[in-house]
Amino acid sequence: MSRRSTRRRDGLSLSETLPDRGLFALVAMVGFLAALTLAGACGARALSARWAGGAAQLVVIQVPQPDQPARQASGGVQAPGEQSRADAVQAALVSLPAGSIVHRLSAQELGNLLEPWLGSGLKGQTATSPSAMPLPAVLRVELPDSTLPPATLEQDLSAVAPGVIVERNSLWSTRLHALANSLLACAGLALLSVCGVATLITGLTTRAGLASRRDVITTLHGLGASDGYIAGRFARRTASLAFGGGLTGTVLACVPLFALLQITAPFTAEADGVPATATQNSLTGQDAFLGSMPSDLLIGLGCLPLAAALICWLTTQLIVRLWLRRLP
């Protein structure tokens, strides 16, 4: 007989006091919810991070009638060779923070962009060729991280090319960032309430177990069992049940999560700069599943059964030790 098993023969018979079915099933359900909530939280976090970075630094400038001559800068020298409005605006963008990338969309790119609305006829046009449709010149400006375009950008550009339109993506991105953050907060709250439910379930189960073993515990206490011993016995039992339940719930949650990831895969993959088809073709089965999971979600899911065990262990320790306070 092993030393461990003899030590456990103390009359608490926890397999009856804290029956596995109840707590195990409840924690499995909570674990399932927690896994889904965690996935939601990870999604919201990724979204929030994306909108906080990249897109926030994008400014799009439209110059209508790009080929008309630019207005002479007030008091300035005449531009050599009658500068076009588009060129003048591009030249004026030197005032942007260092490291900014200015890209003027070619006629081809513009055509691609507008094709869905205007048909393929545009594709052959060049920026300079006269056309039936007056197209604006479009300049895409990427600012370096944590810089903002100067507040006077519109004024400065209008000075050389009246009617210029400046679209600050940051306006939109701040809003989207705020939205993603509130989603993240919601997911965080949901995760917290799931933890609360787990605590409550453990607390109630433990209290019921204590009540049903009142005499045995009192006798053990009289025989010299310390609070730590009794609380430890109960806590190890609830923690192992919670670990099993948490693991089961997490594994079960992987089924809908996998389906969800399959649906969102094209978006997430493209956003990361990798063509979706490449990721899907190169991975199969389990690899595909693990590969499609963001690593933070994977770590979170791995920690979930441990977190469930920890929550149950702490709750049970607290409840048993408080209960034992009625005995000296």
């Binding site: 023969r9 009359g11 009192t218 025989l223 069992a225 000296p328």
Partner: protein
């Protein structure tokens, strides 16, 4: 050493009358005392108090040289209870555990080595005449067998204080005599022994000082009755 100075105890704060009122007495280490009194006098309550299952409501109490009051740490009481062997009136064996596992409990709770426990169990089972019940479930024993198991559990770890609540009421006379001779022996070896009983024949056979309780009051001390 046990010392009580005007100790009172109420079951609940709002109880009108205390179960034990203003008890004062001392028992030296290695002393033997009978605890006598009519049913309901408070004998079991006094033994629970001495076993630190409950704390005095007022007064000063010292058990095995350790002051017992609510200013002490809980761990102190745990250590104190480990030095006391208590035989409850209702035995309080653990259902579902074998006789051997019941008897092993005080030693296992103190993390004593398993082979030492095995040896102690074997010799004490022989002594109380339960050798063939080593693996029997405790709840299937007769009253007398359960009582002997409870006695074995109370003394296996050589406690400094033995508290016995009617330890012979389920035993035959010869067994009762043997048991009390053993208590006298343990007391001679240095354990303090307090035995609550209604059995006057036993008291006559072993004349030791007695504490006589009546409705929670100590009416005589160190005076063998009759």
């Amino acid at each position: 050493m046990i010392h009580l100075d005007t100790v009172s105890w109420r079951r609940a704060r709002k109880d009108p009358a205390p179960v034990l009122s203003r008890l004062s007495f001392s028992v030296p280490q290695g002393g033997f005392r009978w605890l006598l009194g009519p049913s309901g006098a408070g004998k079991s309550s006094l033994l629970s108090l001495l076993h630190v299952e409950t704390l005095p409501t007022s007064g000063r109490m010292v058990v095995l040289g350790q002051p017992v009051n609510d200013e002490q740490k809980r761990a102190t009481f745990v250590m104190l209870r480990r030095r006391i062997g208590m035989i409850h009136q209702d035995f309080r064996l653990m259902p579902g555990l074998s006789v051997a596992d019941n008897i092993a409990l005080p030693m296992r709770l103190q993390n004593r080595p398993e082979d030492e426990i095995r040896d102690e169990i074997r010799s004490i089972l022989k002594w109380v005449g339960l050798s063939e019940y080593h693996d029997a479930p405790a709840e299937r024993l007769s009253g007398g067998e359960q009582q002997r198991t409870a006695i074995a559990r109370a003394i296996i770890h050589r406690p400094g204080l033995i508290l016995a609540d009617e330890p012979t009421n389920a035993l035959e006379e010869s067994q009762a005599h043997r048991l009390l001779d053993m208590f006298a022996e343990l007391s001679a070896m240095g354990s303090t022994v307090i035995v609550a009983t209604h059995n006057e024949a036993l008291v006559r056979r072993l004349p030791h000082p007695a504490l006589f309780l009546e409705r929670g009051h100590l009416v005589s001390d160190e005076t063998p009755p009759l």
